[in-house]
């Protein structure tokens, strides 16, 4: 198990050091600094073994978090824990920075004592932790309160406390997708996938039972066979506003999905229904991945011509491929230039384009663009003659954008809320759905 946990600043000075196991000595702190933080070479692995001691590290801005062990620990668990640690710290005091860590070091030690016992991760849900680890110190609690805390921390529904009340029951669903593409210069899709998240923000009273439905192919097909079911009734519930480009696509094939720990996995496995009691406030309900029938919002057509040894001509056309009524935003095309570029002339029809020498790229920005449009940029790049034997590697042209639909075609069909103990029904809950598609790594080779 985890033998110790250290937090360093960018210089390698220790900000937090908590040792859980006897086999980890003080010298481990220095070993990591010398061998990893101060290493001349770029980090070659997130796991480092120094003198039979293994160090796992992650970096957040310029802060290093390192977990140390001498045993054969579950490596995936250690990294998941480090990420969780970062989440918890962020939830308590915002950005993870040297200043914030120093300002909250007592709190961090208290948290570390609670969420890691003898190197074994314990309940680390912020919702639960905030009930009894506060920066103000625990005021004398009543016996009931105390047992409520402990039963929540250890309970089956560790992520939600009892007795939550809202005057207005409301929930927000965000379908956030990032669409990834690697395209060959000839326009052939080398790989494309969407990784999406459904983020839920709920302000619901009591312990509400929720059921979430989307246009998952497996579920829709099953219903097609079995005839009308209760889900069909809820269909009108949240539909509408979703799909942008795809049009009439009824259902989508989800390659794989993972769920927040509140979702009953065995139920999903057996019936493919997504039911849960949500944590209060925001949570990432599910993540999913699709690779079939992806709506690629933009197509990039590059044309690079080398004119002699000292000049390059670049022409790039982008085409938007979704309903004309929708608007894409924050469009940015990044065209890499060789290292020996001496000057660039750019002409673009729309938006603004600039050569950024420090980034070795031409950056072309367009604020908004409607669907089924096309725009073009052409540039002349002057090169310094070099005797460098190595050819320019021609990194791919990358693109950023944001579109108001889900490129995977995912649609939320319903989210039903039941709270049998309190007197509000599914109809009283105000529900909102929003779809945002963003570019992930959206690259076209040139």
């Amino acid at each position: 198990m985890i033998g110790g946990l250290f937090i360093y600043n960018h210089k390698g000075e220790v900000l937090i050091s908590r040792v859980y196991r006897d086999d980890i000595g003080r010298n481990a702190v220095d070993a990591f600094r010398v061998n990893v933080i101060h290493a001349r070479q770029q980090v070659r692995s997130p796991v480092t073994n120094i003198a039979r001691t293994s160090f796992f590290h992650v970096k957040r801005s310029n802060i290093w978090l390192a977990a140390v062990t001498k045993q054969n620990v579950n490596a995936a668990m250690v990294f998941e824990f480090l990420y969780k640690m970062c989440d918890v710290m962020t939830a308590y005091f915002g950005k993870i920075s040297e200043e914030n860590i120093k300002n909250n070091f007592v709190l961090i030690y208290e948290l570390l004592d609670e969420i890691l016992d003898f190197g074994y991760p314990q309940n680390s849900e912020t919702g639960a932790l905030k009930t009894f680890i506060t920066q103000t110190g625990i005021k004398s609690q009543s016996k009931e309160e105390q047992s409520q805390i402990t039963s929540q921390v250890t309970g089956q529904i560790g992520w939600r406390r009892e007795g939550i009340k809202y005057r207005r029951n409301e929930l927000f669903l965000d379908v956030l997708e990032s669409v990834n593409l690697l395209m060959s210069p000839q326009g052939q899709v080398l790989s494309a996938h969407v990784s999406g998240r459904v983020v839920m923000k709920s302000y619901l009273s009591g312990m509400p039972e929720c059921k979430f439905g989307m246009n998952d192919k497996i579920v829709i097909d099953k219903q097609g066979k079995g005839g009308a079911t209760e889900e069909a009734a809820g269909k009108s519930d949240l539909g509408g506003s979703g799909g942008g480009g795809g049009g009439g696509k009824q259902s989508i094939a989800i390659d794989d999905c993972t769920f927040h720990q509140c979702v009953r996995l065995s139920k999903f496995d057996a019936e493919r229904s997504i039911s849960f009691i949500p944590p209060d406030g925001e949570c990432e309900l599910m993540r999913y991945r699709t690779t079939k029938d992806i709506i690629l919002p933009f197509r990039v057509i590059p044309l690079v011509r080398e004119v002699g040894r000292t000049k390059l001509e670049v022409k790039v056309v982008i085409k938007s491929n979704f309903k004309p009524s929708l608007l894409a935003q924050k469009i940015e095309v990044r065209i890499p230039t060789p290292l020996n570029t001496s000057g660039v002339q750019v002409i673009c029809m729309k938006g603004k384009a600039k050569y950024k020498a420090s980034e070795n790229a031409i950056v072309w920005k367009i604020k908004r663009m409607a669907g089924m449009k096309e725009s073009q940029i052409s540039a002349e790049i002057e090169l310094l003659p070099t005797n460098d034997k190595k050819k320019w590697a021609r990194p791919p042209i990358s693109m950023n954008f944001e579109v108001p639909f889900a490129p995977s075609g995912l649609k939320v069909r319903y989210l039903k809320v039941f709270e049998p103990k309190l007197n509000y029904s599914d109809h009283d809950v105000i529900k909102w759905v929003r779809y945002i598609g963003r570019s992930g790594i959206y690259e076209t080779r040139c």
């Binding site: 210089k11 900000l15 050091s17 040792v19 006897d22 003080r26 702190v29 770029q42 980090v43 997130p46 796992f56 062990t69 054969n72 579950n74 490596a75 995936a76 668990m77 990294f79 480090l82 120093k102 300002n103 070091f105 007592v106 030690y109 004592d113 016992d117 003898f118 314990q122 680390s124 849900e125 110190g137 609690q141 105390q146 402990t150 039963s151 089956q156 690697l182 060959s184 790989s191 990784s195 390659d255 794989d256 999905c257 993972t258 769920f259 927040h260 720990q261 996995l265 065995s266 999903f268 496995d269 990432e284 993540r287 991945r289 190595k390 590697a393 990194p395 791919p396 790594i441 080779r445």
Partner: protein, 988 residues
């Protein structure tokens, strides 16, 4: 007072220092920044702190403790304040209490006597009405590693383990593990282990999870104890808790489940069914631990089960999803996928694209992805893979580019259809003249030559142009090898090699050895012009070098050349065994162990835990369970690798009680190494000298009298530089053969679809009377290129038989078991089990009489038994035994007529095409057919696993049931056996 060593100064120390003392009082009570505590760097601060700690004001005390903790964090020694800090312990302020506890955990060990002062408070806190405080006390107490304190810990711990509050119980469960780490005996004596076991049935899932974690850890340091005592009932409890506990608890439980071995395939399936939902968990560690359980338990499922296929399909998506996690987790996932792909390639064979490297992946992710891409490369996806690799070869990171170039070479070797494209891609890369790219390309081209001899030599000229730019030993050695190997095609080979010779002593050993061999090869090919050169290199190697390997190899060449140049030619210019496509596969037993450690550090390092964990922990080797012994599954060809594990630990204790002729068996290794393919080329070259004398010459055909015709049938394990002596003539002998014989081959008989290899029926090898009730019957088979011994063991005794193991005596063709005998369940009275044992041909060699005789020893819990059996030599016929026509002609002419033997096969009613088809099934390849006066003449070739070629002419006359067969071989001893095979195959 201890010296205060200032390890660090915080940024902006001075500025804060100025304001610190001025504002100190104002800051009290307000929740201002805590970072000020890091700022005091004044001399004598310990003294100041002491005063503050003893202050009457609570707030001042608390501030002081915070300062102490801050100093502790940065590595200052504040142990001198021990009594003062402990004095602050008695407080109802929980925050202050926690700080004091933190201090105690750090310094109690250095001040054991004073730590006792804290005991009372702990004991009192364990009785506190607030469960949070009870838990805090027991948690902290367990962290104080002072003997005297642990004594006092027992009573409170006992109470806390039975506390009404689950929060206290889950903390107490972990505390047992802590205490065990300090004083294992105490934990046992106090009966805490039993209480801990009871907690597995606790109503609260988190208590269960922590109890499981604690027990697993304790069990690890007692490998033989039955501490966890997993049985179907307790497993059921764990599986129920699995649905309810936190993500971390799920990991503990899954990791524990992975150590369980289900009783049968049904139990295995039901556990798998309950674990699969975890594959959808958001926490990657939960997913990986679930994958571990499934990978392990799948071993037990029969392959023809529908559920087995379903499970395989279910595994792919979550593994792919892991690749969208944060980079560090991706790295862990990729290292594990690398293992999974080696164990079960079918899971991810369609997912090549997801392993394509992204431009901004961290380097460690890129390198791992590349590795997996090569493993998944196949004819179906090779075009895509090559296009990708070509892109990668132009990237900036040197290591990555090198690996990409190397990958192109490996694709060429793995997928024959792509070889040509790979070679041209490599040539393009060489044209870039980027130094490390060129060197890497040359290293891999050498391997391509080894795999496809006489195919791509046209590129040698391009390679030679880059000779001067090579500065890495590996690349230089590869280039020298190429020059030596193809010396007859390179006009200035002698000049090229001579140029390397100038700085002979400055070269690395690798290059020196290669240069020596290359010049000897050159000499044997062009003896007239290079005599001086060879003498020069021999004297450099033998007289001026202090490297024993180099000297030895030099002397061997020298003697060989001086005694018998023709034999030297046979040895040095021997046909080399083709290199295998996968040289970097993890050895099967290690792979199995690593599969049992999926998700853990071992799977990240690709090393068994014992390689990096100290002490008793991790010494336990994990094995995959074996399929339960239902007959049909053991026949599947991959059973050898799939279930190579779980060899009975007692196996090495095999001791034959009779001192008979098979006493020799004692010297054999019971579990011969199961490495696949020949050793990697570099090591092979270095050990070449040894093998030459040891394995090669005195092997099977060592008594061969005629030097030229004599075939030195060395063992295939011989070094790569020497290899097995050929029957195939060097290319120069491909002279046109005139006359009728030459064009008759154009008639080329059509070769139809091959049929299955001939498998003799099983015969009783060891009757039950001779072996205390154990009856063994069996046969041999060659399936998919693997020789298998198929055994039926029957227990005709009254008692149960266990602990089976098998060994062979040395034999003519070096047959040896490639894995342990897979009899895992005890064999009850009147039970029968079918086992198939994969064999390798790299065992020790000794000529037997008859040639195909095999002496076997089988051991079980009762005794050791010996028997001998004869195998059909056809099982040694390898798949690539089809000779080129030209080579066949030349070889036929070259083998002296004395070596020819004729046999009659009677009563065979097949026509010539059917016969040819049937023979091909047993790797006897028809090269050509001609018909003369109603008589069909079939020309055939056979290659034995040790490299011996047998050429045959089969005459079939229509209407005559008697065939005539002539066999020609450089080792005529085998003819009789080969003839028997013909007879057996044709008549069956």
């Amino acid at each position: 007072m201890p010296v205060v060593t200032e390890l660090f100064k915080w940024e902006g120390t001075k500025a804060k220092l100025n304001t610190h003392f001025a504002t100190e009082n104002r800051q009290f009570g307000s929740k201002m920044t805590d970072s000020k505590y890091f700022t005091t760097t004044k001399k004598g601060e310990i003294f100041e702190l002491k005063a503050e700690l003893n202050s009457d004001k609570k707030e001042k005390k608390k501030e002081a403790v915070k300062k102490v903790i801050a100093s502790m964090t940065v590595g200052k020694d504040v142990s001198a304040l021990f009594p003062d800090v402990v004095n602050c312990m008695q407080t109802d302020n929980l925050e202050l209490k926690k700080l004091v506890y933190l201090y105690l955990m750090n310094y109690a060990k250095s001040q054991p006597d004073m730590a006792i002062m804290a005991v009372n408070t702990f004991v009192k806190d364990c009785e506190d009405p607030n469960p949070l405080i009870r838990a805090l006390a027991v948690r902290t107490m367990g962290c104080i590693r002072v003997d005297k304190i642990t004594e006092y810990l027992c009573e409170p711990l006992r109470k806390c383990l039975k506390d009404e509050d689950p929060y206290v119980r889950k903390t107490a469960a972990v505390c047992v593990a802590k205490l065990h780490d300090i004083n294992a005996q105490l934990v046992e004596d106090q009966g805490f282990l039993d209480t801990l076991k009871d907690l597995i049935s606790d109503s609260n899932p988190m208590v269960v999870a922590n109890a499981v974690a604690a027990l697993s850890e304790i069990a690890e340091s007692h490998p033989n104890s039955n501490l966890l005592d997993l049985n179907p009932q307790s497993i059921n409890k764990l599986l129920t808790a699995l649905n309810e506990c936190t993500e971390w608890g799920q990991i503990f439980i899954l990791d524990c489940l992975a150590n369980y071995t289900p009783r049968d395939d049904r139990e295995s399936q039901s556990i798998c069914e309950r674990v699969t939902p975890r594959l959808s968990h958001a926490n990657s560690a939960v997913v990986l631990s679930a994958v571990k359980v499934l990978m392990k338990f799948m071993e037990m499922l029969p392959k023809d089960l529908d559920y087995y296929g379903t499970l395989l399909k279910k595994l792919a998506p979550p593994l792919v999803t892991l690749l969208s996690a944060e980079p560090e987790l991706q790295y862990v996932a990729l290292r594990n996928i690398n293992l999974i792909v080696q164990k079960r390639p079918e899971i991810l064979k369609h997912e090549m694209k997801v392993f394509f490297v992204k431009y901004n992946d961290p380097i460690y992710v890129k390198l791992e992805k590349l590795d997996i891409m090569i493993r998944l490369a196949s004819q179906a996806n090779i075009a895509q893979v090559l296009a990708e690799l070509k892109e990668y070869a132009t990237e900036v990171d040197v290591d990555f580019v090198r690996k990409a170039v190397r990958a192109i070479g490996r694709c060429a070797i793995k997928v024959e259809q792509s070889a040509e494209r790979c070679v041209s891609t490599l040539l393009d890369l060489i044209q870039t003249k980027v130094n490390y790219v060129v060197q890497e390309a040359i290293v891999v081209i050498k391997d391509i030559f080894r795999k496809y001899p006489n195919k791509y030599e046209s590129v040698i000229a391009t390679l030679c142009e880059n000779l001067d730019s090579l500065d890495e030993p590996e690349a230089r050695a590869a280039m020298i090898w190429i020059v030596g190997e193809y010396a007859e095609r390179i006009d200035n080979a002698d000049e090229l090699l001579e140029s390397f010779l100038e700085g002979f002593h400055d070269e690395s050993t690798q290059v020196q050895l290669q240069l020596l061999t290359a010049i000897v090869k050159l000499f044997l090919k062009k003896p007239t012009e290079t005599q001086e050169l060879v003498q020069q290199v021999l004297s450099l190697a033998t007289q001026d070098s202090d490297n024993p390997d180099l000297r030895d190899r030099g002397y061997i060449y020298w003697r060989l050349l001086s005694t018998d140049p023709v034999a030297a030619k046979e040895v040095v210019l021997a046909e080399k065994p083709l290199i295998s496509e996968e040289t970097d596969l993890i050895e099967p037993t290690l792979l199995e162990e690593l599969i049992c450690h999926i998700g853990t550090l071992a799977s990240v390092y690709h090393k068994p835990p014992s390689a990096f964990v100290e002490g008793s922990r991790g010494v336990m080797h994990r094995r995959l369970p074996a399929r339960t012994g239902s007959g049909e599954s053991t026949e599947s060809p991959d059973v050898g690798t799939a279930a190579g594990g779980s060899a009975p630990e007692a196996a090495p204790s095999i001791i034959p009680s009779q001192g008979d002729l098979l006493g020799d068996l004692l010297n054999l290794d019971i579990a011969p190494s199961t490495t696949t393919g020949p050793p990697p080329p570099t090591t092979g070259m270095q050990m070449g000298g040894m093998d030459l004398l040891g394995g090669g010459l005195d092997s099977l055909m060592g008594d061969e009298s005629e030097p030229l015709g004599g075939d030195i049938g060395g063992s295939p394990a011989m070094g790569a530089g020497f290899g097995v002596a050929p029957a195939v003539m060097p290319a120069s002998l491909n002279a046109p053969v005139g006359g009728g014989l030459g064009d008759l081959f154009d008639l080329g008989g059509g070769v139809g679809m091959p049929m299955g290899a001939y498998i003799p029926p099983k015969t009783v090898w060891l009757p039950a009377m001779k072996a205390k009730g154990l009856e063994i019957s069996g046969t041999f088979a060659r399936r998919a290129g693997v020789i298998q011994m198929e055994l039926i063991l029957t227990n005709k005794a009254m008692s149960v038989m266990t602990d089976f193991a098998i060994q062979f005596n040395r034999n003519s063709f070096g047959l040896a078991p490639a894995g342990p005998l897979q009899v895992l369940t005890p064999l009850g009275p009147n039970q029968t089990i079918e086992v198939s044992l994969p064999l390798s041909t790299v065992g020790p060699v000794m000529k037997m009489e008859p040639l195909n005789n095999l002496q076997v020893a089988v051991k079980n819990n009762i005794d050791v038994f010996y028997f001998s059996c004869q195998y059909p030599i056809s099982m040694l016929f390898v798949e690539d035994g089809k000779m080129e026509r030209q080579v066949f002609l030349a070889t036929w002419k070259d083998i002296p007529n004395d070596n020819e033997s004729q046999f009659q096969i009677k009563d065979c009613h097949l026509n010539s095409d059917a016969a040819s088809n049937k023979l091909q099934g047993s790797n006897i390849f028809t090269i050509a057919k001609r018909t003369v006066e109603g008589q069909d003449m079939l020309y055939m070739s056979i290659k034995l696993s040790n490299g011996i070629w047998v050429l045959a002419e089969l005459r079939v006359q229509a209407g005559n049931p008697n065939y005539t067969i002539s066999l020609k071989c450089r080792a005529p001893e085998v003819s009789q056996c080969v003839f028997q095979c013909y007879e057996a195959v044709l008549k069956n």
